[in-house]
Symmetry: C2
Subunit: 498 residues, 2 copies
């Protein structure tokens, strides 16, 4: 193949006397090398493009919403182009139609809330800056030929500086960042172009009408064709994070029971998504506040409460992160002791996971869960069980001598293993990893209660409907605020099946 | 005062027969109420504005950099306005000078990297879209009068959709998000305006030159006047997070020794800043990659390594968050036992804090720390000490019977309290909070070692200079990769003063 290439690469050059001359063989070798190099480079380039396309394909398959958004933007831009293609429209809006195109490109975001927010920001920013610009221009015009550029320049400098600084204020940045940028842009354009063009008001009116056309096309398309609501996304994100925490807790229980496989380990690390979701949650909550009533959400849906719940979910995720670190460290405790404590830890982690799953379900359906109090009771019971097991563990012989009624009740419930087989001499260091795990699980249960309170508050604020089949039991068992004081097994209704 | 107000509020209206008529007293009451309401509203509004201004003032005092950025933007916009105010410049650039203003407003960001990135993105996006737009326009023009709008429309739809979708790809989003938006904008403007305007190439050239003027003004001002480098900010952020973690660990030690005051508790919660810094770090690292060599940083400074260090700092912060939860729970252990364990925990937490402070110092000065190995050795020694204390704790009588040499050595070093006074019968549950604290501190030490490794890798990649005064000791003690295996007290050089 190398030979064939060299045969094909017989280059001829025309020299000045008109005779074509054959290139020397050594040039052929260089050329061959160059071709190889080119192929290699081209191959690498094509490989990169292929990889990129593969990634894009995977993304499109995973999240078809993103493809739909792309098509929506394409549609909106094509529609707005009609203002140039069609004569009658063109005559109406004129050369400023460019601003309609620009509005669509800049304003169209993937969620309805973001698009609406940007449109409103753009409209208000343009209007305010336009009127202020005309005012400043009027003052400058009436202050004489010499002072005019000075007045305009100073006002531009001061307003641009102040507005830019205000973009750093957290309250402004969250909701009006884009509006202020548009304010600066419009004000400088008006005050600058006003110096040349006399028909400022006409220009401003044209500009506003084109922006209105662009913005309304964006809003109509983003709300009518497969609308993506930031509120829906925030709601879903919180539900998913709750479910992921639940799976991670289940994962701990699987891990301690030595069942380790790949799919399980992936599920177990789901809590990591919750660790860094703060920025996303805040962004979505900000966008959601611009959105009108849609689906199950009213206009003034308590989006801020979602942020509170998100914060407590993250708090819980930090604890689970530490928990996973503890599970990884090898325990040297004697196997029977390990099994005994593991069983109780397992029960606590699975009942905690149940609470989280119950919360996720309640949020998803937006109905007051009838089972949540029962699940929390179960979790608190498991906490007490674990505490008793820890108390009666190393100095078991002591606690046997003076048995308190609650200890007997708890140990009677939980011990599948004969407790007398535990050596009193087992070293503290041997049990420590397990004890830490247990202690963190207890801590985690307290954090889960904070989430429960957060969701209960949301249920009140957003007026979640009670579940229809349990209306009777609900009247006795309303979603009261849970505090860590009621963890006492005497006050918690002990479930029949733990 | 109420009477005085009512006297002043004697309104008169002119009726049609020319006689002014006094308003009735009942109308006066309504008016008074209205004035009160207005005052209340106005007061509320003024109060809000005052609060806003106060916040702005505080922000300005806290971070003068933000004020400087505002002034810089004002300066850049005023400068670019010269292109309109001054005749000769105006004649050169023409009506397109608007694009220069727009470029400045949109492109000027607070850090040099962000500004440069946006400028480069804007230039490349405009150039690519411009040439592609002209090409498509040429094809459309040569495909006949009827097909022209169809070809343009379809190409616009397809390109806009594909480009919008590509903005969702993580690799594109991180570096070229703005460029792609500009690509879509320019392509639609070119292909749309090309339908009307015949002098496309001239227009494109004008557009590019104005953008170049705007961009170069931005770059010059952002680089010459008090430049704010994203790289510097990232470097500082990581240093500060390390210091905050160190203070938080010191805080734990203060908290356990029952010294609780306000200032201390604020310092102690500094680790919370590190918990949610991921988004900021990634943003700054992305911007930093656009920046040229400046100060101590070369063009290809390993910014990605900062992200790795940041991740391990966060990991450590999660652990500290759990630790703080443990410290809050009340310990019922007997006081002498509490004091004994507390002393050793304190030593570990303060030596861990030392390591972090040493790392922060090494990063800040960008010099290989000569003390870091010693500090890590001290920390590992404290870990061993704590482990031994835990081993010898509840079944102390057992470990006394068969004393291993290392146990004796460790206990000989650390016990200020006569160890025989510890009751063997102290319940497991009583020591559990302290034991959990100890176990988490040990876990935390392992996480700190990951940070040490990260910083050591950075020292190699960024070629940190060795400290001049310790050159000799450095040759024996190069910054080797630390693993948790060398925690054995026999391999760690025992410091004289712990």
């Amino acid at each position: 193949m190398g030979k064939e290439a060299s045969r094909k690469l017989e280059w001829r050059i025309n020299v000045s006397d008109g005779v074509s001359e054959r290139l020397e063989p050594e040039t052929g070798a260089i050329l061959r090398a160059w071709t190889w190099f080119k192929r290699l480079m081209l191959g690498g380039f094509i490989l990169k493009i292929c990889k990129f396309l593969e990634k894009a394909w995977n993304l499109a398959v995973d999240e078809p919403k993103k493809v739909i958004h792309g098509l929506k933007v394409g549609l909106a831009i094509s529609l707005v182009s009609l203002f140039y293609y069609m004569r009658p429209l063109y005559d109406g809006v004129g050369g400023n139609a460019m601003w309609a195109v620009m509005t669509v490109v800049v304003v169209f975001e993937s969620s309805v809330g973001a698009t609406l927010g940007k449109c409103i920001n753009r409209a208000i920013g343009t209007f305010l800056a336009g009127s202020l610009g005309v005012g400043v221009h009027w003052i400058a015009f009436h202050s004489g030929k010499n002072l005019e550029p000075i007045v305009l320049g100073i006002s531009l400098f001061l307003l641009a500086s102040a507005a830019t600084f205000s973009r750093f204020m957290p309250t402004i940045k969250a909701r009006f960042d884009y509006g202020i940028m548009i304010f600066i842009l419009t004000f400088s354009l008006v005050s600058v172009s006003g110096y040349r063009v006399d028909r400022l008001l006409e220009l401003a009116q044209q500009r506003l009408s084109t922006i209105a056309i662009g913005a309304s096309i964006c809003i109509i398309i983003s709300m009518l064709f497969c609308p993506m609501w930031a509120g829906d996304e925030l709601h879903l994100l919180i539900c998913q994070n709750l479910e992921k925490l639940a799976h991670s807790l289940d994962g701990i229980h699987n891990k301690t029971s030595t069942a380790k496989d790949e799919a399980c380990s992936k599920k177990m690390k789901g809590y990591r998504c919750a660790l860094n979701s703060k920025a996303t949650e805040e962004l979505k909550a900000n966008f959601a506040r611009w959105e009108p009533a849609h689906g199950r959400f009213s206009f003034r849906h308590p989006w801020k409460q979602y942020l509170k719940i998100g914060a407590s979910i993250r708090n819980c995720a930090y604890c689970i992160e530490t928990l996973h670190g503890c599970v990884d460290s090898e325990t040297q405790a004697p196997p029977h002791l390990k099994r005994h404590l593991n069983n109780i830890c397992m029960r606590l982690s699975s009942s905690s996971s149940n609470v989280l799953q119950e919360l996720a379900f309640a949020l998803k359906t937006m109905k007051q869960s009838s089972k949540i109090n029962l699940s929390v009771g179960e979790m608190n019971f498991a906490v007490q069980e674990l505490k008793h097991a820890l108390i009666s563990l190393p100095n078991h012989n002591i606690s046997i001598k003076n048995p308190s009624p609650s200890t007997v009740e708890a140990s009677g419930n939980c011990n599948t293993e004969p407790i007398t087989s535990i050596r009193a001499s087992s070293s503290f260091m041997e049990i420590l990893p397990l004890a830490t795990l247990a202690s963190l699980l207890i801590e985690n249960a307290a954090k889960i209660e904070v989430i429960v309170n957060g969701v209960n508050e949301l249920a009140v604020l957003a007026e979640f409907k009670p579940t229809t089949d349990n209306k009777k039991s609900k009247s006795n068992q309303s979603p009261k605020k849970l505090t860590s004081e009621n963890q006492d097994p005497e006050t918690v209704k002990i479930p029949q099946k733990v």
